[in-house]
Subunit: 424 residues, 2 copies
């Protein structure tokens, strides 16, 4: 039904079998070209495709886009349109680059760049950012470590897709290095807090979705409507300073332990491109309240991988998880978020919460992988990690596997720089 | 030193003695004129002043403003400039409208409107919104009600200006009516939650400040620098659905209990205009960590008043509090918020948290005023309030009192409409 998902389609652009970006993907992003022009674009194989150039050449005739929609520094104006338009654009791109069609050489020169020649930019100006807490194994692990293994899940967890508001301003693109944060921590057995660089620097393996324009304040989006308001997804690293977080978070939740940075991958993969990979989620017991009921398969089989790299060793895999492990799905998250009348805007971002699988090699944070530092992880150079060290790079990758191709997200890679000096 | 604060200055625009807007105020806002043009403006007495018209008439010559800075639908572009420019604009406005100067009648026609003839608009497109929890009496009251009167303050409260991220999209202007939110609640002694309209609808009396453009991610703003990054303040009503909040907030903080709406007053009163009303805050013991130390008087004497009105009675005062009661001041809040490297942008909004004074008639929420519903408040028509009812209007007012004039914020007034039906 979604034409661009035709699994038999091939492109006249060469695509290697292990590429994240076959013609069935067609993600959306923003990049700066070698002439310094910034445009909204997509990618097939190793070619970056300038959608603004395509529109100027009249390739999108008949689609209700309005002028200059791709001559932008973010996807936000595109996000303000709606799913039928997003779908028409993606279907048209699939047509244009279909192996059965051809493109004039002059047009190719205007439209195509080698991916190495463009600089990826933040794809979205994020309005509001919400982080959920929707992996049962993660919530269970945290409950075991900090509370009671016999009552690891808090009373509301099986009834509510628990979430909280995060900081939008500090969401940065893959490749943006971050400094180790500083803050208050309460040393073990101490009565007074101290101030200094975070000692328990952690990542959280998450996926995020980007929204289109919602309804007016006071209205809600049902689970049946939710998919229409979700444009697509990216990989999300919810950086966490565990010592800062632990001291500050009661009673109002995470603040400085999280808001120093979050990192995203540059390409937004459409929800449409992910449709073939829908799977059933875990049965929810006790039954959820009616506004959280949903129809159909709403989980997605997205294979996730986390690696650490450093100056001393190549990327080393420390976790393999999967987005299908989510207890609460996106339609439930969005329905819950708006059921009180809260409005959403084009360009809001909602992250899943740490995605931990059911085995220790599938946990989605150092906190869980090293079990609070009690089980250090050995690196290829023989060094150990309980948490992340300065100059470590953290890499997350994600893809859906079909028989003959994969729909991938690329990666988010971030290096941790030493803490900056405090000037007071 | 700040010329516009000259207490002897009078304007050629008539200003009644009890006006919130003498020539010493000069707040900034956005309004739609009778010709439907929207502009950035200010107010003296009952006159709305079109700053875009003033700029076109060359009144701001010599100030580094750039063109069309007031031909905008928000203050955000002005906020991206800096304090010397903001101050120069305010000083110039004080000159233009000084009783010793005159204005051409044609210019008056272009620049001035009666305040009733303009429609106030949201002054700021809020990027990120943070809510603090900085009134000791409020934190103590909540601790007494929900925890233990002997250990009412949590261990971190005297060390950290506790805060959390809120929802920016649902901040609305005074006069925007809101619907009672719906959501999950756990009835007393029940094991399973139910869904329905909030039964414990509450306000929170707060003040908020609006920021200018901060530093790059990874840098911090010290207490000594903080005032330079604060443009001004407004009244803030942090609507709270107590029953929804109670069930959801452990462990990640308030979410749907707060994000259905927050209401602000339309005029941003500059920090400069508030300087004459600085007072010393409560002594902080134990001593704060060095990055939270500050010099000078950083609290402000702003008199606050809360009223309920309905179809059956005129506005009835239920609380009188004061912004000077804050334990943590704005410079500490901003220094704390950024000490981990979190960046702020022009147009971020940071609210104080509920401002409760030390006596029961100075508490800043129904939760505290009715002490969890155990001490209902009697209205002029004989009806009682434990929490707010449908069709109640909630009014907050704020002003600083000088000998011969007051610097006021106007008011924020919001009517609560019945819950909307859920369509699923």
């Amino acid at each position: 039904m979604i034409k661009a998902n035709d699994s038999n389609r091939k492109s006249w652009i060469e695509v290697s079998k292990d590429s994240d970006f076959p013609i069935q993907n067609i993600p959306f992003g923003v990049f700066k070209k070698s002439d310094n022009n910034i445009c909204v674009g997509t990618r097939i194989g190793d070619r970056a495709i300038d959608l603004n150039a395509l529109q100027k050449l009249n390739y999108f005739a008949g689609i209700a886009l309005g002028p200059e929609i791709f001559n932008k520094e973010t996807l936000n104006d595109l996000l303000k349109l709606n799913k039928p338009v997003w779908r028409a654009v993606r279907d048209r791109i699939a047509e244009i680059f279909d192996a059965n069609n051809e493109m004039d050489e002059t047009h190719k020169g205007l439209v195509l760049s080698m991916i190495e020649e463009v600089e990826m930019m933040m794809p979205v100006s994020v309005g509001d950012y919400t982080d959920f807490y929707s992996s049962r194994q993660h919530a269970y692990n945290v409950g075991c470590m900090f509370r009671d293994p016999n009552n690891a899940l808090l009373p509301n967890w099986l009834h509510i897709p628990v979430g909280y508001h995060g900081r939008a301003s500090s969401i940065v693109l893959s490749g943006t290095n971050i400094h180790r944060p500083k803050g208050q921590q309460l040393p073990v057995d101490a009565e007074m807090p101290v101030f200094g660089p975070c000692k328990l620097m952690d990542f959280e393996l998450e996926m995020a979705f980007v929204t289109g324009q919602g309804k007016e304040l006071g209205n809600h989006i049902s689970t049946a409507e939710a998919d229409d308001y979700i444009f697509g997804m990216c990989i999300f690293n919810d950086w966490s300073a565990r010592d800062i977080q632990k001291w500050e978070y009661v009673p109002l939740g995470p603040f400085l332990g999280k808001n120093f940075a979050s990192s995203i991958s540059p390409w937004i993969v459409t929800l449409d491109a992910l449709e073939p990979f829908r799977v059933e989620g875990e049965k929810q017991e006790p039954a959820v309240l009616p506004y959280l009921e949903f129809k159909g398969n709403k989980n997605i089989d997205i294979k996730l991988e986390v690696q650490i790299a450093s100056d001393h060793f190549e990327p080393h895999t420390i976790s393999r998880s999967n987005y299908k492990y989510m207890y609460w799905n996106m339609t439930q998250q969005l329905a819950h978020h708006t059921v009180n009348g809260c409005n959403i805007n084009a360009g809001d971002l909602m992250a899943s919460g740490t995605i931990s699988g059911n085995t220790p090699d599938a946990y989605g944070s150092m906190l869980e992988l090293s079990w609070k530092g009690t089980k250090p992880i050995t690196m290829p150079d023989g060094s150990e990690r309980k948490f992340l060290q300065d100059n470590d790079s953290l890499i997350m990758k994600a893809h859906c596997q079909a028989d003959h191709y994969r729909i991938g997200f690329g990666k988010v890679r971030t290096k941790i720089l030493p803490a900056k000096k405090l000037n007071i």
